[in-house]
């Protein structure tokens, strides 16, 4: 077997093995260097996998050469390739640029442990994405969750502690619900392999344990994915986490849970359960619409920049689940595309927040007055990423909103209403991004902050790169669009 065939296993193994070794690297800076190198290597593997998937290669990997359904198989397809790209990409961007930001927030003696937890989070997230086995997904989900609790609580902000406790409680309830669902399905089908499950479930699809399992799995994963109204853990956890951690988590953590929700539902339940498409749509669509409206409205009145962006994340999760709730190829394409484009926009926005936090003492809006003068490059990147979040033409955000609106308009009269909701919430996004722009560009700096200088060059460079990626993928959207439509075809079981 050549190296290429091992890539889907290496994607998980590389960060998982590096994590315990990094604990031993005590000299300052070394742990960071090792973690960054590992993360970049994972990013390279993800790019190689994405290129391979676009060329039609098959990356199924049988662990220990035990064939499915008895052995454990790892696999990468178009949908997982996109998730791998954003997960490893977000981790690499945050680590490359975030060294001095992390230095200022985490004590030097704790840093080896911090970076070790970081790589465990990375290993857990990519593990969820490549796993094709329901129980493996649970184990990787818990690895990533436990690591993220540690990372969020790692900063100097004491309010992170109650926030992370709430996240731990809700995250564990979500994971346990998922475990109950998987147990009930195992009881009825005797298999844990998702593809095998989809075949065997046909004989028992009318039995009540399967329906109960579908409910438990959907609710459990919706908790993890912060689908409205199960998002209560998210705003505080994102706000009080160290800035670099927020970049990583906001760009991919909830989306990976959403990925499992969509994948589980469309592979196992959708083709086999009578009337499931309708139940799925009735459950998810109202929640998605509420998320879009309520979370955008909450962001409008939020005085803290980080929490404002966190509420906006809840709204964006609404867009992604709205696309999925249409149960159509166009809807799923838009949904997957928005997963990609939103992590570009939100990653760049939180990177600019990390820049701002290096200069200003607080992330409250009124403290950031005059940031446009003192930190012009940071605010330029923030503005570009903000435009992408709103969905202005020429940015990545426009492409996925365009696809989403075209998808909902296929739905007839209902679609017009849905499109109206999307337009209204885009206007709300314009208003809350404008609030930041207004404070930064049209207010004079406070006396205390006139001496603020630009953020460190490496953080600034990464932020600029992330912002430019928003423009690049707004103009040349072929690669993400073709991957997304492949993913949608795959999920609906339509042969391309």
């Amino acid at each position: 077997m050549s190296l290429v065939q091992h890539l889907s296993a290496l994607q998980v193994v590389v960060p998982l093995l590096s994590a315990p070794l990094i604990v031993l690297l005590r000299p300052p800076g070394l742990a960071w260097a090792a973690a960054t190198a590992t993360s970049l290597m994972a990013f390279t593997i993800a790019i190689a996998l994405a290129i391979g998937v676009s060329n039609g290669n098959n990356f199924a990997y049988e662990m220990g050469s035990w064939p499915a359904p008895y052995g454990i198989t790892l696999g990468v397809d178009a949908f997982s390739a996109i998730l791998l790209l954003i997960t490893t990409g977000a981790s690499s961007f945050a680590l490359v640029g975030g060294k001095r930001s992390i230095d200022s927030q985490v004590e030097a003696s704790r840093q080896p442990l911090f970076y070790s937890a970081w790589l465990l989070l990375l290993a857990g997230l990519v593990g969820i994405v490549v796993a094709t086995d329901a129980f493996n997904i649970f184990v990787f989900m818990e690895i990533s969750s436990l690591a993220s609790y540690v990372l969020i609580a790692g900063g100097p902000d004491r309010r992170a502690l109650p926030a992370v406790f709430k996240y731990l409680i809700m995250g564990t309830i979500g994971a346990t619900f998922y475990l109950i669902g998987v147990g009930l399905i195992y009881m009825m089908t005797g298999t844990l392999n998702l593809a095998d499950m989809a075949v065997r479930i046909q004989d028992v699809s009318d039995q009540s344990p399967i329906l109960v399992a579908a409910g438990f799995i959907t609710i459990g994963l919706a908790l993890k994915a912060a689908v409205f109204p199960l998002h209560l853990w998210l705003p505080n956890a994102y706000t009080h986490a160290p800035h670099a951690v927020t970049v990583f988590l906001a760009a991919c953590a909830t989306k990976v849970a959403l990925y499992v929700l969509i994948r589980f539902d469309f592979i196992v339940f959708q083709p086999n359960l009578a009337g499931h498409a309708l139940q799925f749509a009735y459950f998810l669509m109202p929640l998605a619409l509420l998320a879009i409206i309520v979370a955008s409205a909450a962001a409008l009145f939020e005085p803290n920049l980080k929490r404002l962006l966190a509420y906006s994340s809840v709204a964006q999760i609404g867009y992604i689940s709205l696309g999925a709730s249409l149960v159509s190829k166009a809807g799923l394409t838009a949904s997957v595309l928005h997963i990609f484009n939103h992590s570009l926009a939100k990653g760049a926005l939180f990177l600019s927040v990390a820049c701002l936090a290096m200069g200003f003492s607080s992330t409250r809006l009124e403290a950031l007055a005059g940031a446009g003068r003192t930190m012009p490059w940071t605010m330029a990147a923030f503005t570009i990423a903000g435009l992408s979040l709103i969905g202005v033409p020429g940015t990545a955000g426009f492409i996925s909103k365009w696809y989403l609106i075209s998808a909902v308009l296929n739905e007839g009269a209902l679609g017009v209403g849905l499109a109206a909701v999307i337009v209204v919430s885009s206007l709300m996004a314009a208003v809350y991004i404008w609030k930041v722009i207004e404070v930064a560009y049209f207010q004079l700096p406070h006396d205390g902050s006139t001496a603020v200088r630009e953020a460190p060059i490496e953080l600034l460079a990464v932020t600029g790169l992330a912002a430019l990626a928003n423009i690049y993928y707004g103009l040349f959207s072929d690669v993400p669009v073709s991957l997304s439509s492949d993913a949608a075809q795959l999920l609906l079981g339509v042969t391309p």
Partner: protein
């Protein structure tokens, strides 16, 4: 009796709800974690119950024996992993409670909430 036949599943359901109620209703963070542990243990019981085959023994093939009945070992293995996950979750949770006690001086939810309202 059909209903009594599902005795184990009744216990599972009752434990699950007791755990969930404790997590939601109690303000003390340690009690919340206790509730969470009960909640998780209930699920372990569900897995262990479903692997039981009447008259089944440990799945070891004996030479010459032809009509052995085995219990399904897979759920036990799964739940061993899940127990480890549960223990780690409780450990991280307790570590966070210790740090909350150090910084806030309390482990009562409403007191922590009030401490942050007056900065």
């Amino acid at each position: 009796m059909e209903l009594l036949g599902y005795y184990n599943y009744w216990v599972f359901a009752i434990l699950l709800v007791i755990g969930l109620y404790t997590v939601i209703a109690k303000g003390n963070l340690i009690k919340k974690l206790l509730g969470l542990s009960i909640f998780q243990s209930a699920v372990f019981l569900m897995y262990i119950t479903m692997n039981k085959v009447e008259g089944g023994t440990a799945p070891i093939i004996l030479k010459g024996a032809t009509d052995q009945i085995f219990s399904n070992p897979l759920p036990q293995v799964l739940i061993l992993t899940a127990i480890v996950v549960g223990v780690s979750t409780t450990a991280v949770g307790l570590a966070i409670v210790v740090r909350i006690k150090e910084t806030y001086g309390s482990i009562e939810e409403h007191q922590i909430f009030e401490a942050d309202q007056t900065p």
